[in-house]
């Protein structure tokens, strides 16, 4: 998962907040920086793999810091922010869209945490606010001294178009109330996902990183919403070559769970306690295989060994599209069965990927003559074969009948007589040394094409039996 933090640098953020009963005072921006630091400290402990980027905005939006795991670098950069002009939201959304897309393409879930002034209640509901082009949510933290006028006008903190929601710190604003709201966001957003990885009676407690999201899709007739259950049940194995390049929704590291304990001795002991997860990873890697697992009643995933570089390899969960047909060439996943233990070689071949019952047009000889060139190419083909008779007698007649059948279906009657003309012309043009059978066959075919019966779809024109050759009748 990745996070973008957007900090408002408009002049309103310059406002001073006096802390009651003390002489201290902070600008809103100082409070914002404080909140971000709280968030980064939380990530450093609980979610070290999180990538964070920071953008700053006012009337324009700038990328202060692109995605990094170096949280200290971010802290250093946000400590020296300068004020700009007024707040303007649309450029922020655009900049973030571009930033996320150029970095992650659209396959990564991205949280956006925006810290701004109280104007967001109104500003983020304007019609020129477009939704994000990547999977993710916007969390807005408004810093305002008094409860916003707008706050009561909008009965919910939800933003339109599923953009996200607004969560404001408790009043009065103090560094601790700001810290509190950021801690709350961090705890709700960066939850490690615990699950049980199971294969029969073997099991292992694991964490999924990043946490898997529930998935909603509007298909024909129904809206499909799927959530991953806390048990990943292996239902069998496949050779990796059979599942090259499936469509994947997301991918997650599957790490064996460790009980958080600062004591190094217990950690040492954990490292030495056998884990099924590690065994599975080793075997998948050695055998170059993939495990298929069920995520919920209608959702499946693949477990593979994956290496970022040569040294560090890991178990990875590839989440497929929900539904039982996520890998179309394997057919319905519910129709996969475990091979009987003693499967003979011939049986194994037979049960391999089920052939699709009806072939696609490009896989069968269908004739399309919408473009002139398509028809001309087909006619040229039979003329080429005509010249090579008697060797090509079977293919000439096969092709001729194919064209004839298509012409009948399209009611293209003129074509047949025209081809008859062409064949006769071809016959009269034959060079001297041609086999005599060739001329006989050409004349025969031309006569057959001119008969009224030629338009009968049940008829097949067969070669003329001549004294020259006993060619195979079709």
């Amino acid at each position: 998962m990745a996070t973008v933090i957007a900090i408002d640098l408009s002049v309103s953020m310059l406002r001073d907040i006096k802390i009651k009963d003390t002489k201290e005072s902070f600008t809103l921006l100082q409070l914002a920086t404080h909140g971000v630091n709280v968030l980064l400290d939380y990530l450093a402990v609980h979610s070290r793999l999180e990538f964070v980027a920071v953008v700053t905005f006012s009337s324009t939006c700038d990328v202060l810091c692109s995605f990094t795991r170096d949280y200290d670098l971010i802290k250093a950069k946000i400590s020296q922010l300068e004020f700009r002009t007024n707040t303007c939201y649309p450029p922020v959304i655009q900049t973030i869209n571009y930033l996320v897309h150029s970095e992650w393409s659209n396959s990564v879930t991205c949280q956006v945490i925006m810290i701004t002034d109280g104007n967001c209640y109104e500003g983020l509901r304007k019609p020129d606010i477009t939704p994000f082009l990547f999977p993710g949510k916007l969390i807005v933290v408004p810093l305002e001294q008094v409860s916003s006028l707008y706050k009561n006008n909008y009965d919910s903190n939800k933003l339109p178009n599923g953009l996200g929601y607004i969560t404001s710190p408790e009043l009065p604003l103090t560094p601790s109330s700001v810290a509190k709201v950021f801690e709350k966001i961090a705890k709700e957003t960066y939850v490690p996902y615990s699950a049980v990885l199971r294969c029969g009676n073997l099991k292992s407690d694991v964490h999924l990183i990043p946490p898997p999201m529930s998935y909603t899709k509007a298909a024909d007739f129904e809206i499909i919403t799927c959530c991953i259950s806390s048990e990943l049940s292996i239902i069998g194995f496949l050779e990796s070559s059979k599942v090259e390049c499936p469509a994947t929704l997301s991918r997650h590291l599957v790490l064996p769970q460790r009980i958080l304990d600062e004591c190094s001795e217990t950690n040492e002991a954990f490292a030495k306690t056998p884990s099924f997860c590690v065994l599975l990873h080793g075997a998948l890697k050695v055998e170059n295989m993939t495990a298929v697992c069920q995520l919920s009643s209608n959702w499946y995933g693949l477990l593979v060994s994956w290496a970022d570089n040569k040294k560090k390899s890991n178990l990875m969960l590839i989440i497929l599209e929900p539904g039982t047909n996520a890998i179309p060439w394997l057919g319905d996943i519910r129709n996969l069965t475990l091979s009987p233990t003693e499967l003979s070689k011939s049986d194994a071949d037979e049960t391999q990927p089920s052939k699709t019952p009806d072939k696609r047009s490009y896989n069968q000889s269908q004739l399309v003559w919408i473009k002139e060139a398509g028809l001309q190419a087909d006619i040229q083909k039979i003329l080429r074969q005509a010249r090579k008779m008697p060797d090509k007698i079977p293919s000439f007649y096969k092709e001729l009948n194919r064209i004839r059948k298509a012409a009948i279906a399209y009611s293209f009657n003129d074509l047949l007589t025209s081809i008859a003309d062409l064949l006769e012309l071809e016959c009269s043009n034959l060079p001297g040394g041609t086999h005599p059978d060739c001329a006989l066959q050409l004349t025969h075919a031309a006569i057959e094409l001119r008969k009224p019966l030629a338009m009968d779809p049940k008829l097949t024109i067969v070669p003329m039996t001549t004294k020259y050759a006993q060619h195979d009748l079709m």
């Binding site: 869209n97 897309h101 150029s102 992650w104 393409s105 659209n106 396959s107 509007a218 024909d220 007739f221 129904e222 809206i223 049940s233 069998g236 499936p246 469509a247 994947t248 991918r251 790490l255 064996p256 954990f270 306690t273 884990s275 599975l280 075997a283 998948l284 055998e287 295989m289 495990a291 298929v292 593979v304 390899s313 179309p328 060439w329 129709n335 996969l336 475990l338 091979s339 233990t341 990927p353 089920s354 009806d358 696609r360 047009s361 896989n363 269908q366 004739l367 399309v368 003559w369 473009k371 398509g374 006619i379 003329l383 298509a406 399209y410 009611s411 025209s418 062409l422 012309l425 779809p457």
Partner: protein
């Protein structure tokens, strides 16, 4: 697009009404040259030929069908209706009739439009097709019926599209056709009868007005606009020879498709095999395959989008990337979407070459040339089972960068995992598609999970925590046989043989484990080795008691070791089989029962006593088991006929006779009345 449009798309049901009147038999006046052969100088070239307007129209309709069914083998249905003196339907909504070959076959028998013979009784008209189309549209498809039966929160909407191909004189005649069609829909909606039909909620009507190429036409194009809440109208006026192009343009909108042109495909010249030239091939696929490209940098997207020549849509040009090695596919997980494709010019030589290349199992990577000249791989074309797909490849970074290695986590430092054994286990549990369809009571997924469970009932993770799995020279085939659902008598013998050979080894005082420096058990005494081996074997056999035959193997171990079955585990297991068989005679796989044994019934007690009495000899012999079973069979077998109800309630008297009170309920009744 609104959610309702997304949930109930108009493209689920499309109806074509094609004019088959004598007018459509006229030549389109767009000629096709037939001049192919060298002829003697001065010879007259063969006359060009003309397609009729009917041929042009029906070709275009079939091309529409071809593309739709190539890309969506299910769920996008099309019907074709012809109309002359009457209407005729070429196919229905059932999936067996939703294919081009079926349609071609039926078109052959339909034949060309009739020659014009004035008939005072009945006119030729396209209008007859309207009622048939409306009737087709109210007819439910299988998918619609399934959804309606599910009773979801959202009521199923019947949305559809009708494309009429005809020839009208002017705009008012088009309006006329539209209002006639509108009336037919309203009329049909009145005759809806559940569950096989459903009233039309909305119809998108497309009228394609066509005419011979040589004349001009007064009908003007109209963009889609609403006529009534249930009807939208769109009009296109086009000469007959261009219908094909027009219809494929409409198709892209109707099914939300996009076009990709694969550029720079190197191909050998037909005439001259030694030289090669570069060709382009255009393909259609779902538009979502382009989302990633179009959402990225605007400038980069502009660099690849081009207007398609002679058409009013855009195509994205992606460069063919000559495959270097066989295994240069992107990572398994970097493909985000997958869509079927179909070539636009199916007959062209470049298309055929690309298709053959893909169908032969090779894959093609497509590169996007960016504005600055940089390249990035964006898509992969690949075929599976004779179907070709376009994959979108995620070009971004991965959030999983620099992850902690699994070896650094819990269990990572353990080196003695039984990796090779688990490899064998995986190979024995490969998933394969089956031809049998699953039924309500047969769930392959649960079966598979159950099977995996049995095979892992006793499965130590590391080599140092097991002895029997390290002694395969002795313990195989027993280890692999015992985890099976059923084992034959012969296989029981084989298992027993394994136990005997271990016995023999013990009596010869052989080393079970060859002492070696690396072996952590080297310190263990020979006696201890055997002791823990026998204990482990017992645990293994006890974990795998699925049938009587499985029990026999455990019994054999007890006999060999001179050990009593202290927990009566065999007996309990056998009882469980008996009980579950009696309880559910239809279930053959009694082994799927929970391992929690049911409480002992009274019968067990009886059997127990008898067994003890009858066996004066050694309770640890095979005889013992045999007798237990025999008694079992005799006594416990369910009686061949159901017992009389009276006998079941009877009380045994001292003399051994049974006494039962008859008509008990009558007595009770009278008692009750008396009390009143």
């Amino acid at each position: 697009m609104s959610l309702m449009d997304q949930l109930f798309p108009a493209n689920h049901k499309t109806t074509f009404v094609v004019d088959h009147t004598p007018y459509f038999g006229l030549a389109s006046n767009s000629h096709i040259k037939m001049d192919f052969t060298k002829r003697p100088s001065g010879g007259i070239p063969p006359a060009p030929i003309f397609k009729s307007m009917w041929t042009c129209s029906i070709e275009a309709v079939l091309e529409y069908c071809r593309i739709v069914w190539d890309l969506f083998p299910e769920g996008k249905l099309i019907r074709v209706i012809s109309s002359d003196m009457q209407s005729r339907t070429l196919n229905n909504w059932s999936s067996s009739q939703q294919n081009v070959n079926y349609m071609l076959h039926h078109l052959s028998s339909l034949g060309p439009p009739a020659k014009l013979v004035p008939n005072p009784n009945r006119d030729y008209s396209v209008v007859y097709g309207f009622r048939t189309a409306a009737e087709a549209m109210i007819e439910c498809t299988t998918a619609q019926m399934d959804q309606a039966a599910k009773k979801n929160n959202i009521e199923v909407q019947n949305k559809c599209r009708t494309v009429i191909i005809t020839s009208a004189r002017d705009n008012p005649s088009i309006d006329n056709l539209m209002s006639m069609f509108h009336n037919e829909i309203i009329k049909s909606n009145k005759y809806v009868s559940q569950p096989n039909s459903m009233s039309i909620n909305h119809c998108h009507l497309v009228i394609i007005n066509t005419y011979p190429d040589s004349i001009t036409c007064e009908v003007t194009d109209r963009p889609p606009h609403p006529i009534s809440p249930m009807l939208d109208l769109e009009v296109h006026s086009i000469p007959a020879s261009k219908i094909g192009i027009k219809i494929s343009n409409l198709l892209l909108k109707h099914y939300n498709l996009a076009s990709t042109t694969v550029t720079g495909i190197p191909m050998k010249e037909e005439q001259n095999a030694s030289s090669s030239a570069n060709y382009d091939v255009e393909i259609y696929h779902a538009a979502t395959a382009h989302t990633t490209i179009l959402n990225a940098n605007v400038a980069d997207a502009k660099a690849v989008v081009a207007k398609k020549e002679g058409a009013d849509y855009e195509t994205i040009k992606l460069k063919w990337c000559t495959p270097r090695a066989n295994n240069n596919l992107p990572d398994i997980h970097s493909c985000t979407t997958l869509h079927r494709i179909t070539p636009v010019d199916i007959n062209s030589r470049p298309s055929a070459c690309l298709i053959t290349f893909l169908l032969n199992g090779r894959s093609v990577l497509l590169e996007m040339i960016k504005q600055g000249g940089g390249k990035s791989m964006s898509h992969v074309l690949k075929s599976y089972n004779g179907e070709i797909y376009i994959h979108t490849v995620s070009s971004g970074r991965t959030v999983l960068e620099d992850p902690p290695a699994i070896s650094e986590g819990p269990g990572g430092k353990v080196t003695q995992y039984r990796v090779a054994d688990f490899g064998t286990f995986m190979k024995l549990n490969l998933l394969q598609p089956t031809k049998r369809k699953q039924t309500e009571d047969k769930n392959y997924i649960d079966d598979a999970k159950e099977k995996l469970k049995k095979q892992t009932a006793y499965w130590p993770l590391i080599t140092s925590s097991t002895i029997i799995f390290n002694l395969k020279q002795y313990t195989e085939p027993m280890l692999s046989l015992m985890v099976k659902d059923n084992i034959s008598d012969q296989e029981v013998m084989n298992c027993k043989q394994c136990i005997y050979s271990l016995m023999a080894a013990e009596s010869k005082n052989e080393h079970l484990i060859t002492p070696s420096l690396s072996n952590p058990r080297k310190i263990m005494k020979k006696d201890d080795q055997y002791k823990s081996m026998w204990a482990e074997l017992e645990t293994f056999l006890k974990s795998n008691l699925y049938t009587e035959n499985h029990c026999k193997v455990l019994q054999c171990l007890f006999e060999c070791r001179g050990k009593l079955d202290e927990e009566k585990i065999i007996e309990k297991t056998l009882m469980r089989f008996k009980k579950s068989l009696a309880d559910r005679p239809s279930v053959i796989r009694a082994t799927t029962d929970s391992p929690m044994s049911p409480p002992l019934t009274q019968q067990t007690g009886i059997k127990h006593n008898i067994a003890h009495k009858a066996v004066a000899a050694d309770p640890n012999s095979v005889m013992y088991l045999q007798i237990v079973q025999d008694q079992d069979n005799r006594r416990v077998n369910p009686p061949s006929r159901p017992q009389f109800a009276g006998r079941l309630k009877s009380i045994q008297k001292r003399n051994g006779n049974l006494f039962a009170k008859l008509y008990q309920h009558i007595d009770d009744d009278t008692d009750a009345k008396g009390a009143k």
